[in-house]
């Protein structure tokens, strides 16, 4: 089994980079209760991939925009700028996110259906972890490292505006700018991970490891540690089981993440009773 997994080690490395980056950002996604923003952004990102593929089939000369990653990034960043600005109209924020999610999902599927060799490209929306090459992993590292450095550098600022924005504002923090930074890093990571991991796995890495972290820890450092540790564990175990048993990697990793959440919840219950 180990030798079979080794054959796909480049794919595993790529999955680990996505796991680490998403699970760090996921701490804010879960604590700020913007889980569905994460889902909607992931869906928009996949719609961007579909749009690029459909446009490529129409013969339009749009240059780099026709590359799925570029189109996905452009649409994702536009969406996160809008989400970071907050809702000001009559429509509740949750409803806006719901509309975005539903429309992006539908548009993605419709565009893929009409794209040249659409069925072959469907894998882009579902993700294709096994297809990750060394070059892809390097690109993912090139995106993840600066994002994580920003998060380490501005940890206390991002924490403060997330925890108590009103007080942060009175101390001179431009809360909207910090929100924008958080959302932009979220958008960049989601857009770069999407074409390899797909909507389900990216969403999984954004939410489930952070929930495990929240269940297991008493402080922020612990939450980050357990979030990353459980994401890495899920990636390694899920990937290792999927290859020899010929299972789709994304759902296998997500299933392991779910088991880890369950174990963390049971552990917390037992600790509370002790």
């Amino acid at each position: 089994m180990f030798s079979t997994v080794l054959l796909f080690r480049e794919a595993l490395y790529g999955a680990l980079v996505i796991a680490v980056a998403c699970s760090v950002l996921g701490v804010y996604v879960v604590l700020r209760r913007i889980v569905f923003v994460g889902a909607a952004v992931a869906q928009i990102s996949s719609a961007g991939i579909a749009l690029a593929l459909w446009l490529a089939g129409t013969g339009l000369a749009l240059g780099p925009l026709l590359r799925p990653t570029v189109m996905s990034l452009v649409l994702t960043l536009a969406a996160v700028v809008i989400f970071a600005g907050g809702a000001r109209g009559r429509i509740p924020p949750d409803a806006t996110i719901g509309v975005t999610y539903a429309v992006a999902a539908a548009v993605g599927i419709l565009l893929i259906a009409k794209a040249a060799s659409g069925e072959a490209h469907d894998i882009f929306l579902q993700g294709n972890i096994l297809g990750i090459t060394r070059g892809d992993t390097l690109v993912l590292i090139g995106v993840a490292v600066p994002v994580l450095v920003l998060h380490v550098l501005f940890y206390k600022e991002l924490l403060f505006v997330s925890f108590d924005r009103e007080t942060a504002r009175t101390l001179g923090y431009d809360v909207r700018r910090w929100d924008l930074l958080l959302y932009l890093t979220l958008g960049v990571v989601i857009a770069s991970a999407m074409q390899f991991a797909g909507v389900m796995l990216v969403f999984n890495f954004l939410v489930l490891p952070a929930v495990t972290g929240l269940l297991l820890s008493q402080h922020m450092r612990g939450m980050f540690f357990w979030s990353v540790a459980s994401a890495v564990t899920a990636a390694v175990v899920g990937f290792s089981l999927s290859v020899p048993f010929d299972l789709p990697s994304g759902p296998a990793i997500s299933a392991v993440s779910g088991v880890l959440v369950l174990l963390a919840w049971l552990g917390r219950r037992l600790a509370a009773r002790a």
């Binding site: 501005f154 206390k156 108590d164 009103e166 007080t167 009175t170 101390l171 008493q218 402080h219």
Partner: protein, 257 residues
């Protein structure tokens, strides 16, 4: 001595929506002001103008350049699902002094512990914020405001949802901070009876009306009846003042609801 904050014929609101007009008052150093009014009357709007997070639509709000606020938000504005220790929360009050991208030093931690000592909960420094009682959470937020070494402490509904014991303890603590440290205090509350016996001056905001004065000036039946639009009585019991609405016919009272 120049006042710390001066409102000069200020009109306050959001966009085109005017909340309060023609507000003029000063907040001198060493003041203990209670900003009192029902929910939705515009108290938060005035506080935002004082803090500088809301610019007046007309008129001016001038702040002393040396002004530094210690803000204590309403307890329910803070998200207790964050796994934060009490000491970490208090430290946030120094974040802007520590500077962008820098980590708190041992001195910052010592100051945070000192602030906790000041409000009487130093023993809770390593506890989770979420595990504390309402009064202890409020003390933590007051310690966070103090650790930034402010010259004005602003408290937004500090006793909201608290029982009689916790309310008395928190108001007593705030009064003590004012008396002992000479801290200028602005306390926002919807409950006139709670704050009247602790503050030196009262600013009353009711349905667009605004009146400010010493507690003796504001706590008259004439002023309060005029501001609230219903007949009220001001009684005194063992040196404590209390305001009660006079009983009226049910139908008459219902007309106002």
């Amino acid at each position: 001595m120049a006042p710390l904050v001066t409102f000069d014929r200020a009109t306050l609101g959001y966009g085109r929506r005017v909340v309060l007009t023609d507000i003029s008052f000063e907040m001198p150093e060493g003041d203990f002001l209670g900003l009192v009014g029902p929910n939705g009357s515009g108290k938060t709007t005035i506080v935002r103008a004082i803090l500088g997070t809301l610019q007046p639509l007309a008129g001016t709000v001038t702040r002393d350049p040396t002004l530094r606020f210690g803000y204590v938000p309403q307890r329910d504005q803070v998200d207790y699902s964050f796994p934060l220790k009490v000491l970490d929360v208090v430290m946030m009050g120094r974040y802007d002094r520590i500077g962008l991208g820098r980590r708190p030093t041992a001195e910052d931690r010592a100051l945070a512990r000192e602030a906790l000592e000041h409000v009487g909960i130093a023993h809770l420094a390593d506890h989770r914020l979420a595990d504390l009682s309402g009064g202890q959470k409020q003390r933590t937020l007051i310690a966070r405001a103090l650790v930034g070494e402010p010259n004005v402490l602003v408290l937004d509904e500090p006793t909201n949802g608290m029982d009689l014991v916790a309310t008395t303890q928190i108001l007593g603590l705030v009064r003590e901070l004012h008396d002992r440290d000479g801290l200028t205090v602005l306390m926002v509350s919807h409950a006139l009876n709670e704050v009247v016996n602790y503050v030196d001056r009262i600013a009353l905001v009711v349905e667009g009306g605004f009146r400010i004065g010493t507690t003796d000036e504001i706590m008259t039946e004439e002023t309060l009846t005029q501001m609230y639009g219903i007949p009220v009585e001001v009684d005194s019991f063992d040196g404590h003042r209390i305001v009660v609405a006079r009983r009226r016919h049910t139908t008459e009272a219902a007309d106002r609801v």
